[in-house]
Symmetry: C2
Subunit: 436 residues, 2 copies
């Protein structure tokens, strides 16, 4: 005997969870499509050389191995590097601009911890091949429309611009990209180690500099009217041209969003958002659900200058975001915004003798032909058992077929919610009750 | 620079293909659900010991490696072993009978050849925990309903019973399971090496036996009325009890199916169907599309006695089938039954000056609010470019917004199919044209 178990950090989804996930993915895909994003698929396995081109912590977590032909291969750890490879390989066939979404699993051999898995699902959407602010605006619209489609109402996309962070660093005495990255890496820990902790770490890194004022600005979050907010920070434009450019672009983005029918509570400025290091170059954002502060960001992203720089000399700017589906599902569950059934059928058809199988099959087929998902209980047993099966799985109705029903071509229907049972209905009578 | 390429035997799906695949999967899932099948998810990675429990050619093709914790792991090569593991692990929580579908990718490092990939998609549906013939009947109904939902009309599920094959072997002098398997392995090559080839191979294996009559019977395919067919082979029931049992069960299955509103051309007896070796124990089937003889079976399966025998002492009989999606898609494409667009948007909104971006965003949002998928062209360029973009991708309508349109809050709409362009429409006028 082999012990049936999953690998540590990997998990099965039972029907209730799998159906809830499927319903969420359907809604997300439908929002992505409404904006003209199209799906693509890339393999789960790629050449190791493609996956290992960047530096950072994540490199140690890639599942790398040799395939049957002794090639060094690896499981994808995100969908961005495969996208960069894909675009470089196919951009002539695709045509630019190109808007794709991709819903797929990625693999990271990180230390397993609560709520973190080694295989998890990402929903990415990117707008490639254009520097237009319309694209940034659209990605943020997609985030907001997605969360609203899932029934969320109280959430915010926190937006910043890398040029604002770069300009601030410059103003406070950090000039090289390395220095700026070192600072951002510390600032990224703000929510974990607090302002005191950040100041201590920065002091250790740059003993000659003062960070209190810098941190005060970085800690600025918009609270209230956006136009007022931009007025209140307009003085920063005088610090240097980089800061000015970043602030003006952010303001233009807000002006684009504010002219739409979107609740302005859903997008706000937060000067502390940095989002990783070498990657993003423009507007960046994270998304939090108001009532679930500890959940972290459920959708993050930003603008980058050149997606495929490792693969192609052609410059491919773009902007995109990624929804961490597993984390989002945890949030939706906590807010009771996910389906919680274990069956896809509304009706369970039960018969009391094997000689009724043919009639039962006909009844189930008729329900399906009338667009009512119907399941046939395959065994003949005491009624208690199929009824408890229906209760456990969540069927709304149970149809019972006995000798009399078979003779009259009638059926007995029980509403499992109200407990009401009606005997000897015609099929159309039963259908009416189900569709009531 | 890194050369952007996929591994040999792996492939990308561009939007047109990915959308076609997605549409097919949506239709299949909807059929599975209409019968009460529910989705589950298992990881792509499993303990190697779980994957390598069986013998056979496939074992050499499994991607096996060590993970970060030095565990021996592997990529799943089918969805049946993971299902067996899943059921043994969770059956108390699931409740029996249990009907699941699973749509997922599997990995086999086989020699790459035309139309065969090392990563491919399987759509499995299984009915676990019941020996009732209703389950067999339902799996065959699902196959037929699935292919019909995809627009196929001329196809057949070819059905056999392992007990018929076993009984025939017994009658013609083969008695051990090893001998029967050796014969079936040769018979499985019938379509490849022909009757002559099969007879030669059998002669070499069993020089003392005569196979001409056996092969004649095995080559019997139902052609015409099923009840007539069963009458014509009724003499086989006298050969031995195994044959009798197999034939009677097959006949009962046909009687169940014949009482339903299903074209009887869609299911037929074929005594040559064997489907692998140690696995199946009852009714077995393959499915072919009439006009695509060389494509092979697009959906195969059958009944098994005990799914989880390696994992559990509890007996879990079941019946199921698997659709080879990649092969099915090849067939659907050949019959022009797949979508062939590269865009998910019906309308492309184009503006002629950056100062029109806000109005263009509003127009696109209005279309979406009216359930019309609308894409915004992000650049301001000569109109030729967005129009050729719309032509390439397949948008049905292009909306052009110039100075006058912005001033009047009107829009100019071109129907890309008819070429008809109407200027200065109100939004509702444009919406009416789109929904016409």
């Amino acid at each position: 005997m082999i012990t049936p178990k999953t690998l540590s950090g990997f998990k099965d989804r039972l029907p209730k969870e799998a159906m809830a996930k499927g319903a969420v993915l359907d809604k997300l895909a439908s929002v992505f499509r409404s904006f003209g994003f199209v799906p693509i698929e890339t393999p789960h396995l790629e050449y190791a050389s493609i996956l290992t081109q960047e530096e950072g912590e994540i490199q140690k977590e890639i599942y790398l191995f040799k395939d049957h032909g002794k090639r060094e291969v690896g499981l994808r750890f995100d969908q961005t590097i495969p996208l960069a490879r894909f675009i470089a390989q196919h951009h002539h066939a695709l045509g630019l601009p190109f808007k794709r979404y991709a819903i797929g699993n990625v693999f990271r051999g990180e230390r397993a911890q609560r709520g973190r898995y080694r295989e998890f699902t990402q929903c990415d959407f990117d707008f490639i091949g254009s520097k237009s602010l319309l694209c940034d605006s659209e990605i943020i619209q997609v985030i907001i429309a997605s969360l609203k489609a899932l029934g969320l109402d109280e959430f915010s996309v926190w937006i910043n611009h890398r040029k604002i962070l770069n300009g601030l660093c410059e103003h406070f005495g950090l000039h090289t990209q390395e220095e700026i990255h070192a600072l951002l890496r510390v600032v990224d820990k703000l929510s974990k180690i607090g302002q005191e902790g950040v100041l201590l770490e920065l002091k250790a890194l740059f003993p000659q500099l003062q960070f209190t004022d810098l941190l005060k600005i970085i800690n600025t979050k918009q609270n209230g009217d956006p136009l007022e907010f931009f007025k209140s920070v307009a003085y920063l434009k005088d610090y240097n041209p980089t800061l000015k450019e970043g602030l003006e672009e952010l303001e233009s983005l807000f002006n684009l969003l504010l002219c739409l029918e979107i609740n302005p509570e859903h997008f706000k400025v937060d000067f502390s958002i940095a989002r990783g290091l070498g990657y993003y170059t423009g507007i960046v954002y994270e998304t939090t659900i108001n009532s679930l502060a500890t959940l972290g960001s459920v959708c993050s992203g930003g603008r980058y200058d050149n997606l495929s720089k490792s693969f192609s000399t052609q410059s491919l700017p773009g902007v995109g975001a990624s929804i961490g589906l597993d984390r989002l599902l945890v949030g939706l569950e906590e807010l009771e915004l996910v389906e919680s059934k274990s069956t896809s059928a509304r009706v369970l058809v039960v018969c009391m003798h094997p000689s009724h199988f043919a009639y039962a099959s006909q009844v189930a087929q008729k329900f399906r032909q009338s667009d009512v998902n119907a399941e046939l209980y395959p065994e003949v047993e005491k009624l208690k058992k199929p009824f408890s099966y229906a209760n456990q799985k969540g069927h709304e109705f149970v149809v019972v077929l006995g000798e009399e029903e078979v003779r009259n071509k009638s059926l007995t229907l029980k509403n499992m919610t109200t407990g009401v049972q009606v005997n000897h209905l015609s099929f159309l009578g039963a259908l009416a009750m189900v569709n009531e």
